[in-house]
Amino acid sequence: MSQQPLVTLQNVGKTFGPVTVIKDVTVSVYAGQVQVLLGENGAGKSTLIKMMAGVYQPDAGHIVVDGKTVTLPTTRAAEELGIATIHQELNLVPTMSIAENVMLGRTPTKHGMVDRSALRNRARAALALIGLDVSVDTLVGDLGIAQQQLVEIAKALSINARILILDEPTAALTRHETESLFAVMADLRRRGVGMLFISHHLDEIAEVGDTVTVLRDGEFIAEVPASTPEDELVKLMVGRSIEDQFPRVAGKVGETAEILTVEHLTSTGSFSDISFTVKAGEVLGIAGLVGAGRTELIRAIAGADRYTSGTVAVRGRHLPNGSIQAAIAAGVGHVPEDRKGQGLVLDASVNDNLGYATLSSTAKLGLVDFAGQRSRAGDVAKKLRIRMHTIDQPIGALSGGNQQKAVFGRWIIAASTVLLLDEPTRGVDVGAKVEIYELMNAITAAGGAILMVSSELPEILGMSDRILVMRDGRLAGELSAAEATQDAVMTLAARDVDENHEQR
């Protein structure tokens, strides 16, 4: 490329104590191009972007902006050079309006008072840059994640950012929202903004990227065009070829062995009249848009929320409404959507986290069975290949995939036979994903039943034996694995949903 890059990290390196996190990596961002950074968790992507954003300083190599070598001692220094980061966890104040958030730290004043009209006007101009059509007086907390992200991008552009670092912006978006984001990115690209894009969704790379820099274990592996086939990218990323991204081996589904029976389940405002069964050995996938009521349904079955009417039965026995304990006793295990917020106690050890569901049932006279717990946790950690230093290490220090395996492990220790999975591989890298899928196979092979909600269509299609599609809180249809395609699912999921309705 003859054009001069906007920013280049030139042969940079970074070590933390004895650990080398980045070794001799070069990556450039060009005006009007989307550079994709690809690698598994722990490959060094976040360290790299933090160097570009002025959070970390490289120990080796240097940073070049517009052909001049610079140092970026602070994030402010990076921003002054036009480098802005859109973090996965958004930096917005939910209780303040869009206008106040966009202008945060630069609030226009008149006679020492906030100049409200200037504030609104400048915020409106910023929103216009990305074509976001909502009132600037709306509280940010009232917006969905997708729109909050756009507000953050507008904020970055309003401080004249020329280089946007997008750290997994699509992780929490629906397919539809992702497409809106990509449209904004395409527009920015036309206007000469350079972007560094990180995503775990391989299919997005060809769609939105220009070139891909692949990292593995902190080292530069390759720079390839974004059109490179997914298999090839996976191979570069994990250093071996993964035969099958979705290695579903169907369990033996017995015709009579219905383990989970849900009848006419209704929760006013969330979902209504849902009936289905899951048989032993089966994975039943639930597809649908965010807001279709899938998570609410799973939580109601798990006993986490109360429902209005209907019944849930496991092996023919009705579960009481809103009782997690009763559900667990009946063999139900719930892997919630938000691993860090709902699944784990991050400061507690791996050992403790694996044992919460069985804390009472294994106790004698109210005393914790420490020795038994340790051996059970040790066994399951080994079986699930949870990678950790010691079992007493805080679970928050593990990678996303290993954390998720621990949530599964908790239910394996509890001998659960009905697993309710809500976005089971969100934020999990490719290698660990396959391990989780294999675990699902093992559970169904042993006669267990799995109900899985996922927003990743390839996962739903690849791992389900049957697929239910939800739309606006109702069952929109059922597809067998054989007849299900992305189009078939999306037609059911999104029919009658017009733009305005979904934007809300």
Binding site: P336, G341, Q342, G343, L344, V345, L359, G366, V368, L398
Partner: protein, 323 residues
């Protein structure tokens, strides 16, 4: 990073780690050495017993507070509940004519009841613990004044015994040791104790794992009430009477002791041993400043700075560890 290839040096004692994890203990030792050098009156049997007696009330209150803070809450009512429990005990004996031992148990029950109400208001009434217990502070102190009509009440001999001696050993110190052992056992060994850490660390994760979070919270506050009642009776036993303004402001000492002892107000962290050291730090500082003839006005200033310093160091330590 993710593989377990880092050789763990487990054999040799890691002094650095020990110091970093036991800052309060190190501070206490330094403090004691400094006071030993500064005044000959510090290291006398009489003074040490004094410290033991003084620490007993604060530490017992703080043990109860440790449960609450570990579970992610706060209890501002423990001082007032201590006073109410002691006053109720005195009233049951002096006005209702109950036998002394029954009045003592009655006092403990009153404290437990007050704590249970805190817990119910927090867990089922959805009041933040700060508000629920602030209300209880006012109610309990008010009831104490109502019962006593603002005057001290004589305690039965059974309660006064708690303030006496067994041979050379003051009874409060014996109670303190027993309370510490019981609290530590509860927190470390029992299902309810381990559950407190989970609830304080992430209440939603604990709930989804099947832990009865509401019941745990009620138990936690009930225990804090029980320990507060015990502290109130210890105090009344020493003074031989229940005072309407007894233990006023002690809730802040209890919180300070827990926090100096390494607990996090965000919940999920804390130990009885740490709390005990934290209570000792507070009492030894007061005692030392008294011996050095520093006025109680300046003592407050020093205590405030010590709390800020202790927690500040702790925050720094966690920050360096996590990055």
């Amino acid at each position: 990073m993710s593989t377990a290839t880092v050789p763990a040096k487990r054999r040799s004692f890691d002094y650095k780690k020990f110091l970093a994890n036991n800052g309060a203990l190190v501070g206490l030792v330094v403090l004691c050495i400094a006071l030993f050098i500064a005044t000959p009156d510090f290291l006398t049997a009489q003074n040490l017993l004094n410290i033991g007696i003084q620490v007993s009330t604060v530490a017992v209150l703080a043990f109860g507070m440790t449960f609450v803070i570990v579970a992610g809450g706060i209890d501002l009512s423990v001082g007032a509940v201590a006073a109410l429990s002691a006053m109720s005990s005195g009233w049951m004996f002096a006005s209702a004519g109950l036998p002394g031992w029954l009045a003592l148990i009655g006092g403990l029950l009153v404290g437990t009841l007050a704590g249970t109400i805190n817990g119910l208001a927090n867990a089922y009434g959805k009041l933040p613990s700060f508000i629920a217990t602030l209300a209880m502070l006012s109610v309990a102190r008010g009831l104490t004044l109502v019962i006593s009509d603002g005057r001290p009440i004589k305690m039965p001999a059974e309660v006064s015994f708690l303030g006496g001696n067994v041979g050379p050993v003051p009874m409060p110190i014996i109670i303190l040791v027993l309370a510490a052992l019981a609290a530590s056992f509860l927190l470390n060994r029992t299902v309810i104790g381990r559950s407190m850490y989970a609830v304080g660390g992430n209440a939603e994760a604990a709930r989804l794992s099947g832990l009865p979070v509401k019941r745990i919270l009620v138990t936690v506050f009930a225990l804090a009430g029980l320990f507060a009642a015990l502290a109130g009776l210890l105090l009344a036993g020493r003074l031989d009477s229940a005072q309407p303004q007894a233990a006023a402001g002690y809730e802040l000492d209890a919180i300070a002791a827990v926090v100096i002892g390494g607990a996090s107000l965000a919940g999920g962290l804390g130990k009885i041993s740490g709390t005990f050291v934290g209570a000792l730090v507070l009492v030894v500082i007061r005692n030392g400043l008294n011996l050095l003839n520093v006025t109680s006005f300046w003592q407050q200033v020093v205590i405030g700075l010590v709390i800020a310093l202790a927690v500040g160091i702790d925050v720094l330590r966690r920050k360096t560890r996590s990055s």
